[in-house]
């Protein structure tokens, strides 16, 4: 190898070493700066500055590579270290070629010396980087240790102006939103603050503001100097969050922000109590609603929607009535009357009524609550037979009719007096009741037959021969003849009996029971009349409580020929595979895993464990309030270092995480070992 070859090789080595040295120096600087940022919890932009600074220093180091580009300068660098070469190497580098010169340049093993020097130049930066790495790992732990010592030391001299003490005592003032009307509150040393969304939270303490940094929702908050203390002001967010306070001495304080959501008003429509069908849209409907709110109501009103039409053509009208200002009352009622005449309703129209209330929340609201909707439908002429008998008071025309209950009372009274009465008098009084029973039976019969479109029964007093007991089939046959249906083509047959028969069955049962009762009363045997009279009363009650049935007609049923249609489609699809559902809720699983990690942390860093519990609480506040409360208790107990309380709180958290035991039907109770 010639001297020139050796020189060129050294030039390459020099370039590599200089580059490596620049990298080592830049990395060392970056590690040191990032450690400082971490220890002092400097804001996120500090990281960028640290990285840029280290890159700049590395670049400056790389500029030294320019000197290696000249082979003569490399030769001079060697000649400086090996003067015995007497400029032979520089001469070779300048391009002079001669065997004597080469021999002179190779007499000394200068390349070994040069390599040693290169390695030596890398040693210091490498050591610096290792030290920096070690410090970056050790510094945060040392900082925590120093904080702990400072905290213990400051326990006896609380109130001094040392850095550690700026977070020793923290006060929180809560100014509730004006609409709530609640006075401001103050809490000392809280782990969490519960307040309405939008409340102004002021966290304050003693000491210099410059020694405290505050973060909430991953953004830095301004810390202001107020007299001899510091303070941070923020609004209660809509979602649970955390305020992280950090002192220059490295102490941390976490405060959970637990927002209280303003609940929407609860509105209950008491009158009308249920949906109604009317034959004619006349009269006035009273409306009565009960309103409640946790903070205060602002206003309320009734909303009315009238829908008209059928099939694909519907029109709607909407209006509001009785809009009332409630001036922050938490509980009140709302009353109004709506005139059906004024709504100009037509047969088939539906009036939907509901009460709506708004609260006074001007921060996130207003919250709107609405009641159940009630429907008042105007029956069409062709569906009168399906209009239900509602539990409404009887019309005035029927007010004088003796009720079945009263007939039973009269008969029972007669039975009690039976022994003291002469037979002719007993028969006379019994027949008087029988006459009333017959009239009532006629009314029931009229209702049944009118519903079926037939004429009322033609019995009048005792002059007209009576039809006697009727079977369901006879009634149905009469209904068929009344509506013009043929015998083999009955109305809307569904299942085993017609809807017409199903609706009227209780009344038909009452009709027949009244017939039995009347017959006994006619022959002067009131005691025998009582059982069928009671059966009639029970049947009438059942008819009153019968569910409404709309005879809108069954949709036409198309039976698909599955075998014919099977796989005749031209397009092909691919069914997705069935996915197994997780047995445990993934959120619960994640929370349990986090809690296990926190449990492992108690032994060597209880403060960090308490902070982790508070972070878990923030996560649980929205969806698992019971767990959030248990976590808060656990964090408080941990802060107080109360072993007994910690154990209890831990058990409570574990039980809440696991959920209550679930009793599953079908699984037999444990009976012990067989």
């Amino acid at each position: 190898m010639t001297a020139l070859d050796r020189l060129l090789r050294l030039q390459r080595s020099l370039a590599i070493v200089l580059a490596a040295r620049a990298l080592l120096v830049a990395t060392t600087v970056a590690i040191v700066l990032l450690a400082v940022v971490h220890v002092f919890s400097l804001p996120a932009w500090s990281v960028a500055i640290a990285l840029l600074s280290s890159a700049a220093i590395g670049t400056v180091q790389l500029l030294r590579l320019r000197s290696v580009r000249s082979l003569s300068r490399v030769a001079l660098w060697v000649e400086e270290r090996t003067p015995a070469l007497r400029y032979s190497l520089v001469t070779v580098a300048d391009g002079v070629r001669s065997a004597g010169l080469d021999e002179q340049a190779l007499q000394m093993s200068w390349w070994t010396e040069a390599q040693r020097a290169l390695l030596k130049s890398l040693t210091l930066p490498a050591i610096a980087m290792i030290v920096a790495l070690a410090l970056s790992v050790a510094l945060p732990r040392a900082s925590r240790l120093a904080n702990a010592i400072a905290t213990r030391a400051s326990g006896s001299s609380r109130g001094s102006a040392s850095d550690a003490d700026v977070l020793a005592v923290v006060h929180v003032a809560v100014a509730w939103p004006a609409y709530s009307g609640r006075p401001a509150t103050t809490v000392d040393d809280p782990t969490s603050i519960e307040a309405l969304v939008g409340s102004v939270i002021t966290v304050s303490g003693k000491g210099e503001a410059s020694l405290v940094t505050a973060n909430a929702d991953s953004s830095a908050r301004a810390v202001a100097q107020r007299g001899d203390g510091w303070s941070v002001t923020l609004a209660m967010p809509a979602r649970p969050g955390i305020v992280r306070l950090h002192s220059a001495a490295g102490r941390d304080r976490l405060i959970v922000l637990a927002p209280i959501a303003d609940a929407a008003p609860v509105v209950t429509l008491l009158i009308p109590a249920h949906d109604t069908i009317v034959r004619r849209a006349i009269g006035v409907v009273p409306l009565h609603a009960q309103l409640r709110d946790d903070i205060g109501l602002s206003n309320a009103q009734f909303e009315i929607v009238v829908s008209s039409g059928s099939g694909e053509n519907f029109t709607f009208r909407a209006t509001t009535i009785a809009r009332t200002s409630l001036n922050g009352r938490t509980e009140t009622t709302l009353d109004a009357r709506v005139s059906l005449d004024s709504l100009k309703l037509l047969p088939g129209d539906i009036v939907q009524l509901r009460a709506v209330a708004r609260d006074g929340n001007m921060v996130t609201g207003p919250g709107v609550g609405s009641s159940e909707t009630r429907a008042i439908r105007v029956a069409r002429a062709d569906e009168y037979d399906s209009v239900s008998v509602d539990a409404l008071p009887p019309p005035e025309a029927e007010g004088q009719i003796l009720s079945q209950r009263m007939l039973i009372d009269l008969t029972e009274a007669l039975v009690k007096r039976q022994r003291s009465l002469a037979r002719p008098l007993l028969v006379s009084e019994s027949q008087r009741i029988a006459l009333d029973q017959r009239k009532l039976r006629k009314r029931v019969g009229d209702i049944v037959f009118q519903r079926m479109g037939g004429e009322p029964l033609t019995e009048e007093g005792g002059d007209v021969p009576e039809r006697g007991k009727l079977t369901a089939e006879q009634v149905l046959a009469m209904a068929d003849s009344a509506t013009g249906a043929t015998a083999g083509n009955v109305l809307d047959v569904e299942g085993d009996e017609t809807p017409i028969l199903a609706i009227n069955k209780p009344l038909l049962e009452a009709f027949n029971a009244m017939w039995d009762a009347g017959r006994s009363l006619e022959v002067g045997e009131p005691a025998k009349a009582l059982p069928p009279m009671r059966i009639a009363l029970a049947a009438i009650e059942r008819a009153r409580q019968a569910e409404r049935i709309y005879l809108r007609g069954k949709p036409s049923t198309a039976i698909v020929d599955i075998a014919k249609a099977r796989l005749t489609g031209k397009d092909k699809g691919v069914a997705s595979t069935r996915e197994a559902r997780s047995i445990v809720d993934p959120i619960v699983r994640r929370r349990s895993a986090t809690f296990e990690r926190v449990s492992a942390l108690i032994a060597h860093d209880p403060d960090a464990a308490a902070d982790s519990l508070l972070l878990m609480r923030v996560d649980a506040l929205g969806t698992a309030p019971t767990l959030a409360a248990a976590l808060d208790d656990a964090a408080r107990a941990l802060r107080k270092r109360d072993a007994a309380s910690v154990q209890q709180a831990w058990t409570r958290v574990r039980r809440t995480l696991g959920g209550e035991p679930v009793q599953r039907t079908g699984v037999p109770a444990w009976q012990g070992a067989p």
């Binding site: 929607v305 949709p555 049923t557």
Partner: protein, 203 residues
């Protein structure tokens, strides 16, 4: 294993039976494209009835205002907890219409507020792949109702599966014809129904 039975919801208010031919049409479509054992006719199930829990997919439609009674609401909440899928379609195809306003309010109260489903949702890939999200209906293209082409369906999910699917696209009108008439269509417009059924059966 018992056959899949297509169920139409009957509710106290409104006109629940406004699209009587949709069930038969969907049943025919399921038979055409899949080997799913399916009953040849659908059933009508009251929302307040415990029999609701027999059916993995319930179809609900109408034009008129919707309000659920307490038993209907409670039953629907249990239905969702037990793994059912309620498919609600606005037969008015009108977001200003009274069905949409009342139904979305009732459904929000029952299930939570429906959120738009992304085009990548599993419902659009469960059998046929609909790259552009829900298929457009002729009623939207004709400018009827609210004169909008709704780009997405909305829904409520529990533990990664849909419990409520809400449509403003008026599939009730689009699919409300006798299955025999499907032969007159160049493109079968009921294929999305297969995705609904397969999704309900596999999630």
């Amino acid at each position: 294993m018992s056959d899949f039975v297509f169920a139409t919801a009957q509710y106290e208010s409104g006109d629940w039976d406004s699209a009587p031919l949709v069930p038969a049409n969907i049943i025919d479509t399921i038979a055409r494209y899949t080997s799913i054992d399916i009953a040849p006719s659908g059933v009508i199930v009251p929302l307040s009835s415990p029999s609701l829990f027999r059916y993995p997919l319930i179809y609900l439609t109408g034009h008129l205002p919707v309000h659920f009674g307490p038993s209907e609401r409670t039953n629907l909440q249990r239905y969702a907890e037990r793994g059912g899928l309620l498919f609600v379609d606005d037969h008015n195809h009108d977001i200003d219409g009274v069905f949409h306003k009342t139904a979305t309010e009732e459904l929000s109260r029952t299930f939570g507020v429906p959120k738009p489903l992304p085009k990548t949702h599993a419902i659009y890939k469960s059998f046929f792949v609909f790259e552009d999200g829900p298929p457009t209906t002729s009623h939207e293209l004709n400018g009827w109702g609210d004169n909008l082409v709704h780009k997405t369906l909305s829904g409520v999910e529990r533990e990664g599966r849909l419990v409520l699917l809400y449509s403003s696209k008026d599939y009730s009108s689009e699919w409300n014809y006798h299955p025999e008439n499907k032969k007159f269509l160049s493109v079968d417009n009921t294929k999305f129904a297969v995705n609904l059924v397969v999704y309900a059966l596999t999630r």
